[in-house]
């Protein structure tokens, strides 16, 4: 049970918890948090795969990939958060499926 395997397992756990959160939570903000968790999990697995033991040197490519991944996830999160505010503002619910708002427009069957 060396530490690398342990880290892989914790990465996998993070991914699973993220996925579960994405599926289960009803509030959009939580879903975005969960999505970030999932990507951190994946990054963890990539980096663990990359770090070498004593005789094998560190593989820089996953590092670059993770860096790109982090930047990508921050951009998508930013757009997602803005969208959440817009959704909240127009439908007054931060949930995905709509509730009949008192008076303001019928249910959009999106």
């Amino acid at each position: 049970m060396n530490t690398l395997f342990l880290y892989t397992m914790s990465g996998l756990a993070l991914f699973a918890i993220g996925l579960h959160g994405l599926i289960r939570s009803s509030h959009l903000l939580r879903k975005i948090l969960a999505a970030n968790l999932m990507s951190s999990g994946v990054f963890l697995i990539m980096i663990v795969g990359a770090c070498g033991t004593d005789q094998v040197m560190i593989d820089p490519v996953p590092h670059a990939m993770v860096l790109t991944g982090i930047v990508v996830s921050v951009s998508t999160t930013a757009v997602a958060l803005v969208l959440v505010c817009l959704v909240q503002e127009t439908t007054n619910r931060a949930l995905l499926w709509q509730k009949r708002k008192r008076g303001q427009g019928g249910r959009t069957d999106a």
Partner: protein
């Protein structure tokens, strides 16, 4: 050989998923965001343990810092939008969903969740087993990168990969960042703030002290990137932090930045990167094939430009909307029926 570091690794490896679980299970959104930020920091600690300094820096600055700030400002806006919603949130009762009659909803929901839970467990077991089976990939492209380091023009392997060997990825990644800014600007507009808000004394002094320091650190990070951990992203992130501080302090100079200049700043990084890539082709080489030995110089030039752009973009993302129309009195008619989005970032 349960030495201290080994023990530390175990604690760390267990803490991460536990923190993740706590984060999602927490009833209060604010608690969740705070937990998320702490998870980010722990994550950067992990990267350090796994000998990935560049990633640790980026994670700390962008992963934990900036994303956390984004979440907080979004939370602020959500609260302002729905005071009542907040109370409901407190009661922790899941909101009733009229579209599906209550008794039916009871039955449909749990079935799906139980099933998804079961499948999740199977998925984790499967993946865990298969991950356990296959030995590590013996350094993957590591040796190839080491072999080519000579021509890469930089010492740090990560920077070499990022900007030379797989420079095209980074170019596209810059495009992603630019796209995010574009998206945020297209969706909302930042509200015009009242002039009168003056930052508290503590914040004012903090800004005065820290901002110049941050700028220097960012410059250093960009410079050192070629040899040791650092680089455009990390430098950019620090710059962004400075920007966020200025926005928080509602420093007037930030407000008066002309829109044109802001757009050019956003575009600067990706544009220069693209132009240099094409310029390389001029000399008969392929795209992004730095001519001769001057790879290092080109890389540095690109890094500095991109660092600036990254900083400005991330700050703009934090601002959460395109700059308000300078002259026109603030009549918010542009975004649909709802009330204007409140100015983000006000402490």
């Amino acid at each position: 050989m349960m030495d201290v570091m080994g023990f530390f690794d175990i604690v760390l490896a267990l803490a991460l998923p536990w923190l993740g679980w706590r984060l999602l299970a927490s009833s209060d959104l604010f608690r969740a965001v705070v937990l998320f930020i702490s998870l980010g920091l722990l994550m950067s600690l992990t990267w350090v343990r796994l000998q990935a300094p560049d990633v640790a820096l980026a994670e700390a600055a962008i992963g934990a810092g900036l994303t956390g700030a984004l979440f907080l400002s979004a939370l602020r806006r959500l609260e302002r939008l729905s005071e009542s919603e907040r109370r409901l949130e407190h009661a922790g009762k899941r909101e009733e969903d009229e579209t599906i009659p209550p008794e039916k909803r009871r039955r449909a929901k749990p079935v799906a969740y139980v099933l998804s839970l079961f499948l999740l467990v199977v998925f984790v077991l499967l993946l865990g087993w298969s991950l356990g089976q296959t030995p590590g990939a013996k350094g993957g492209l590591g040796p190839a990168v080491a072999g080519q380091m000579g021509q890469s023009g930089v010492q740090s392997q990560v920077t070499a990969v990022l900007l030379n060997f797989r420079g095209y990825d980074t170019l596209l990644e810059m495009m992603v960042l630019f796209l995010a800014a574009l998206g945020v600007w297209s969706l909302t507009r930042v509200r015009q703030t009242q002039q009168g808000e003056v930052p508290g004394p503590v914040l004012a002094t903090l800004v005065r002290l820290l901002v110049p320091l941050m700028i220097i650190v960012a410059g250093y990070l960009v410079w050192i990137g070629s040899s040791r951990a650092g680089g455009a992203f990390q430098g950019g992130a620090v710059l962004a932090a400075a920007g966020v501080l200025l926005l928080l302090a509602n420093v007037t100079v930030v407000r008066q930045v002309p829109a044109g200049l802001l757009r050019w700043a956003l575009v600067l990084g990706p544009l220069l990167f693209l132009l240099t890539a094409v310029a390389c082709m001029g000399g008969g080489g392929n795209l992004l094939e730095y001519p001769g030995q001057s790879a290092g110089v080109w890389i540095l030039f690109i890094e500095s430009a991109t660092a600036v752009s990254i900083g400005v973009t991330l700050a703009a993302l934090y601002a959460g909307g395109r700059p308000p129309a300078p002259s026109a009195p603030e009549k918010d008619n542009e975004e649909g029926p709802g009330s204007g989005v409140d100015k983000g970032g006000k402490a």
